[in-house]
Structures are given as C-alpha cells and as structure tokens.
C-alpha cells in the first residue's frame, strides 16, 4: 500500500480508537460527498491530500504526507451551545496527533497541524452546516 494511504488509514483507525468527547465513525474517503439529509449525524472524514519529497541526505528523502480531516454536522440553531462542542472536538482531534507518532505507523510523526478552515462560512450560510477542516502533515524518512 502506498505510504499516504497507510498514513490515512492509520489516522482513521486511531481516530476510531480514541476516546473523545463525541462519538463518531471516521471514514477514509477521496472526496467527501454527502447529501445534506445525511448530515444530521456527526461525520468525520479522513482525506489524503498531498505528498512532498524534501531532501534529507544522499539516500533518503523527508517524506511529507498531508492529510485533511473534515468534521461536519448539520446544526439546527447554530448557537454557541450547539457549535462550541464541535469546535472543541476539532481541537481534541488535533491534540490526538499533534507532535505524536502514529500508533500503527510509528515511522510517521505529525509535525504540523493547521486548522485553516475553523468553520466554513459558505457551508454555514448555504447549508446551515458546521464544516471544519484540519490539515495535518506527517513526516517520515523514505
């Protein structure tokens, strides 16, 4: 299996095994593509995004695999009581991986976590749906 998919699968498995404030079944997907009707339940999608090879030494490269984790849920009121726990969950997910090695692929270490889309205003406005996107970079020698 390719390295980026190994990373994505490891992330998915680790998310499903983790004890977090909310329960969900994370899925590895290429393009998260759901019907609005299906968004009543919390959905967590793990998406392989990008691979970069950087120089390390004469024989090895620093492999950077970027993984997106999308946290999505249709809300009813969109007030703080409803949304704060979702924002909290996103941070919990980030903390699960930040600066740590993956349980089932210990060569890979999470060196960067970005939450550039804390919540998508477009999805908020158009779908009344919370969508947050975490991008994690895992590094290993290859």
């Amino acid at each position: 299996m390719t390295t980026i998919l190994q990373i994505a699968d490891s992330v998915t498995a680790q998310l499903n095994a983790a004890t977090l404030s909310q329960t969900f079944e994370a899925e590895r997907l290429y393009v998260p593509n759901f019907d609005l009707e299906d968004m009543k339940e919390l959905r967590v999608s793990v998406v392989p995004r990008e691979v970069q090879f950087l120089p390390m030494d004469r024989s090895l490269s620093r492999y950077h695999g970027k993984i997106d984790i999308a946290v999505q849920k249709k809300f009813s009121d969109g007030d703080n009581v409803e949304i704060d726990p979702l924002v909290g969950l996103v941070e919990e997910i980030a903390d699960t991986f930040r600066l740590k090695r993956l349980d089932s692929l210990v060569a890979a270490r999470c060196i960067e976590v970005e939450n550039s889309v804390l919540y998508s205003t477009e999805h908020w406005e158009q779908l009344r749906q919370f969508t947050s996107l975490l991008t994690m970079t895992f590094e290993l020698a290859k």
Partner: protein
C-alpha cells in the same frame, strides 16, 4: 387612481393559491401553521467547500405573505424555519436557508403579495 397591475397580480396570486397549491406545515420552534404553498422551483445543488461536497435538493415555496404573517408564525420567514410537505406516506422536511448569493426569501412580486421562500431538503420522515 386604480392600480390595474396590483389588481391583476392579486388575481393571479389568488388563482395560484386556489388551483396550483398544496397544504404544507410551516414550523418555527414550537409554533406551526397549515398554509397553502405553490412549488416554485425544484433543483439539485452541490456545494463545494475546500473539496468537501454536500449535495441538496433545493425547493422554493410560494406562500401568500398575509397567510404567513397572520398565522401563528406571525412574521416573515427566518433562516432555520422548516416546511413539512407530504409525499405519499412520507413527509419531506425542508429548511429555510440562503440560496447562492441570495437571502433565504424574497417577495416574488412588486406588491409583496407572495413570498418566495428558498429551502433545502434536510430530512425524510417515514411512518
């Protein structure tokens, strides 16, 4: 002076309600009202945010402004209001929300007789 356009629009609005509408349940929090609505438009839309796609069934409901305002709802539409429409044995639930760059509703005529309410399907209730 008589406003013929307004009279004509009023007549047309009445015809739509009498001959081209169906009963729907309009809900806001615990308040609800049975209203006559004409289906204005029904399309399928895909929203793509950062490569994350959400598809939805979009439907416009045309409801007489006076019907909604004088019902137990008591005011113009708001984001998050819900419209329940029967479809055979099932009930389809639509939620009032923005469509593209448009606000969630607008008056559908210059005389503010009818409302065009944008909704997206969020649930199907089966018996």
């Amino acid at each position: 002076m008589t406003d013929l356009l307004r009279i004509g629009q009023n007549w047309l609005a009445g015809k739509l309600k009498t001959h081209a509408s169906q009963s729907v349940t309009y809900k806001r929090d615990s308040a609800e009202a049975e209203l006559q609505a004409t289906i204005g438009r029904s399309t399928y839309q895909q929203d793509d945010g950062e490569g994350i796609i959400t598809r939805s069934q979009v439907r416009d409901f045309l409801i007489d402004t006076s019907d909604l305002v004088s019902s137990s709802i008591g005011s113009l539409p708001r984001r998050g209001d819900r419209i329940h429409q029967s479809d055979g044995e099932n009930t389809i639930v639509y939620e009032v929300m923005s469509l593209g760059g448009e606000p969630p509703w607008r008056f559908s005529d210059p005389f503010r007789l009818k409302l065009r309410i944008h909704t997206k399907q969020i649930d199907t209730i089966s018996p």
